[in-house]
């Protein structure tokens, strides 16, 4: 009896060992990501990656803010839940500097790291080391209705000024028919309305901090920028714009309710898609406006793939990143879904592809990305890197509060001067507490 039991036990043990060995052979990596169109498409092609490499992939898709919180907690507590994380240009240099990410310095030769657009590579590096590979990149630009401009007898310059934008908004504004001259972000949040007002301020010669990390909201440039924005939106913007973010404006524009919309270049493929947009055939593109001071109001952003330092599967993760951000992946998508649907803004070679040059928004997207300089974002010198953000860990919290102050101006609950005074005080307090001043 006992002999039988022993036999059974050893058989079970052997089985377990075999099962363990088999499991160890097929690696599974877990990837945290957001639910953006290009990411969803990538999930659809993962089977091909698994076929080629034998590495299985588990996706964890989360809402953007939840993702940030989840991923930050995981990295700081060494949770090791994810082998790849989808992060942006704001987090990458900060996390890289903290040693939270595996440096991507051993990418293969075929991957051709020099093909990554210089602006993207610069924004995703810390001290010259790349910490995340761009899956797609974006800047911001003007999207406008060619039919409404024509009816108004105006022509949009390829590189407009804010005065051009204002004149066009005035001409196209027709609130009686629920068509508004211009739709812009007002929604609180550092990455929503906060990003837009920051790039607008950059073009007016304003900056977040001087070289000693003193807040600059008490300077005339900020007052000019904010006053201009509020006046423009109150005169020609949709009602309730204080709560409009990217998705709200996308919805308004697709329904033909905006003469112009200045936002992420990635929106171009949405508004020109006849399945979703009622104005798909009549959209024109122009660079984000400037104010004659040498800085345009366009940002730079990338959704990038990075490997957290706590992972046990850095090699498999790197293999996936090389696959997903490669030239071959772009060709794979182009072959199956057309060139307009490939992830834009990451590789130089994409913009040299003749087929891609026929896509109506391709050149303007590239020009917008090239016009953005994260290391030199403002007219006057600043101690920070980043265009629509300041690449320090404290920024997200501070800018969210500041954007809330501004949103109160948009909603008519306080004046421009009051909001700027509050922003000045809260920013300086937070920077003092964090030890910058």
């Amino acid at each position: 009896m006992s002999c039988k039991t022993a036999l059974r036990a050893s058989a079970a043990l052997a089985l377990c060992v075999f099962a363990g060995a088999a499991a160890a052979q097929d690696t599974t990596i877990t990837i945290a990501t957001v639910n953006n169109g290009d990411m969803i498409r990538m999930q659809g092609y993962t089977d091909r990656f698994t076929e080629e490499t034998g590495i299985a992939v588990e996706w964890v898709t989360l809402e953007e803010n939840v993702l940030r919180q989840r991923v930050t907690t995981d990295i700081t507590t060494n949770g090791g839940q994810f082998d790849i994380m989808t992060i942006g240009m704001y987090e990458t240099p900060i996390w890289g500097a903290n040693g939270w990410l595996v440096p991507l310095d051993n990418l293969s030769e075929e991957y051709d790291v020099d093909d990554i657009l210089p602006a993207m590579r610069g924004g995703l590096s810390h001290d010259g080391t790349l910490y995340a590979a761009p899956f797609y990149g974006e800047s911001s630009m003007v999207m406008y209705r060619t039919d409404l401009m024509e009816a108004a007898g105006l022509e949009m310059p390829a590189a407009p000024t804010w005065d051009d934008i204002r004149a066009a908004a005035e001409a196209m504004n027709d609130p009686a028919n629920e068509v508004y001259g211009i739709c812009l972000r007002g929604k609180p949040g550092w990455g929503e309305g906060g990003a837009f007002i920051t790039v607008t301020a950059n073009s007016f010669g304003a900056r977040w901090f001087d070289e000693e990390w003193n807040a600059q909201f008490d300077q005339p440039e900020w007052e000019q920028a904010l006053t201009f924005f509020v006046d423009l939106m109150n005169s020609y913007g949709p009602p309730g714009y204080a709560t409009n973010g990217f998705n709200e404006n996308l919805s308004l524009f697709q329904q033909g309710r905006c003469g112009m919309w200045i936002d992420a270049t990635v929106a171009a493929s949405f508004v020109t898609n006849p399945n979703d947009s009622t104005v798909a055939d009549t959209v024109g593109f122009a660079l984000a406006p400037d104010n004659g001071l040498g800085k345009r109001s366009n940002w730079l952003w990338a959704w990038a793939l990075a490997i957290p330092a706590g992972t046990q599967q850095a090699d498999a993760a790197l293999q996936f990143i090389e696959w997903a951000t490669s030239r071959e992946y772009i060709e794979l998508v182009a072959e199956n879904e057309g060139w307009a649907n490939v992830p834009p803004g990451a590789r130089t070679s994409l913009y040299e592809t003749p087929e891609y040059q026929d896509v109506p928004f391709a050149q303007m997207t590239l020009d917008s990305i090239n016009a953005a300089d994260p290391t030199n974002p403002t007219v006057d010198p600043v101690p920070y890197v980043g265009i629509q953000f300041v690449a320090i860990p404290e920024f997200a919290g501070i800018a969210t509060e500041v954007s809330q102050e501004f949103a109160e101006v948009y909603a008519g609950q306080q004046t421009v001067q009051e909001a700027l005074a509050n922003a000045q005080a809260l920013t300086n307090d937070a920077m003092e507490a964090a030890g910058y001043r």
Binding site: V34, G37, L62, Q69, R70, T76, T77, Q255
Partner: protein
């Protein structure tokens, strides 16, 4: 005359109750309706109540893209497990507080409730570290434990108030007849408190089903319940409201049906006794 007033008042109350009920139900109704529209119609302005192209495409897409059954199964296990575990702990606790109170019972009850006043994010790091230490991240067991603990104050409080309404003399009589403590709780107290326990179970199950902070922050791929399934359809760059609505409808359907069938017990339990 007096009769006419009562009838009028009755009609007024009924209309008011229906109006409030419909108002509360409207967001759910709108979510369900949106899930049958195309993405373009979902954001149409003015909103479309009828006259849209009824489509099941969103459900097909959601079904194809995510493993709904896995999320559903995780939700059932986590919500069910935490509820059962919670009841096992809460019944004896509420018994002792209701029938053999000490000088500190009131304080303990209040202290327990005070843990609910702390925002969950305040303990995100400690809990995460404990989870990392004990290898509980992304496990159903870990979530059962956490959800049981966060809902425990509510279960204990509810059971305590139900138990208080049961005359202590009956339990005394049982004890005089020689019932042990176990027999007293199992065969005398529990049968009398069944409506209360049933509604506590249901409410706790619903709370655990809907819990969306810990279930999102402590899971990744294998233990993620339906809350993570919904969250995966929200997008910062792109309009997917119809698909998001389809995912939400699929996530709330089981609990909605459960609530529908058990509403009698739920209402009875919640309004049980003269003071509630």
């Amino acid at each position: 005359m007096a009769r006419a007033v009562t009838t009028r008042r009755k009609i007024a109350t009924t209309v008011l109750a229906w109006a409030i009920g419909l108002l509360i139900f409207f967001p759910i109704f709108w979510t369900i309706l949106t899930s049958f529209k195309t993405e373009a119609q979902a954001i149409n302005n003015p909103p479309l109540f009828w006259g849209f192209d009824f489509t099941l495409e969103n459900y097909a897409v959601v079904q194809e893209r995510s493993d709904y059954m896995r999320f559903l199964w995780n939700s059932v296990i986590i919500a069910g497990g935490s509820t059962i575990l919670g009841i096992l702990v809460a019944v004896p606790a509420a018994w002792s507080m209701a029938f053999v109170p000490s000088r500190r019972t009131k304080d303990i009850l209040l202290w327990m409730l005070s843990t609910k006043m702390l925002p969950a994010v305040g303990v995100l790091y400690p809990i995460s570290l404990i989870f990392v230490e004990f290898n509980l991240l992304d496990t159903r067991g870990g979530l059962i434990l956490v959800l049981m603990l966060i809902n425990l104050p509510i279960i204990v409080w509810m059971l305590y108030t139900y138990f208080r309404e049961i005359p202590a003399e009956i339990l005394e009589a049982a004890r005089m007849d020689g019932a042990t403590l176990k027999a007293e709780i199992l065969y005398v107290l529990t049968p009398m408190a069944i409506p209360g326990i049933a509604s506590t179970l249901l409410l706790n199950f619903i709370l655990a089903w809907n819990e969306a902070f810990w279930t999102l922050n402590l899971t990744a791929a294998s233990a993620a319940p339906l809350t993570a399934f919904i969250a995966s359809y929200s997008s910062p760059e792109g309009l997917f409201f119809a698909k998001l609505s389809a995912a939400s409808t699929m996530a709330i359907a089981p609990i909605l049906i459960l609530g529908w069938f058990s509403q009698k017990q739920l209402v009875r339990g919640l309004t049980f006794g003269a003071v509630k």
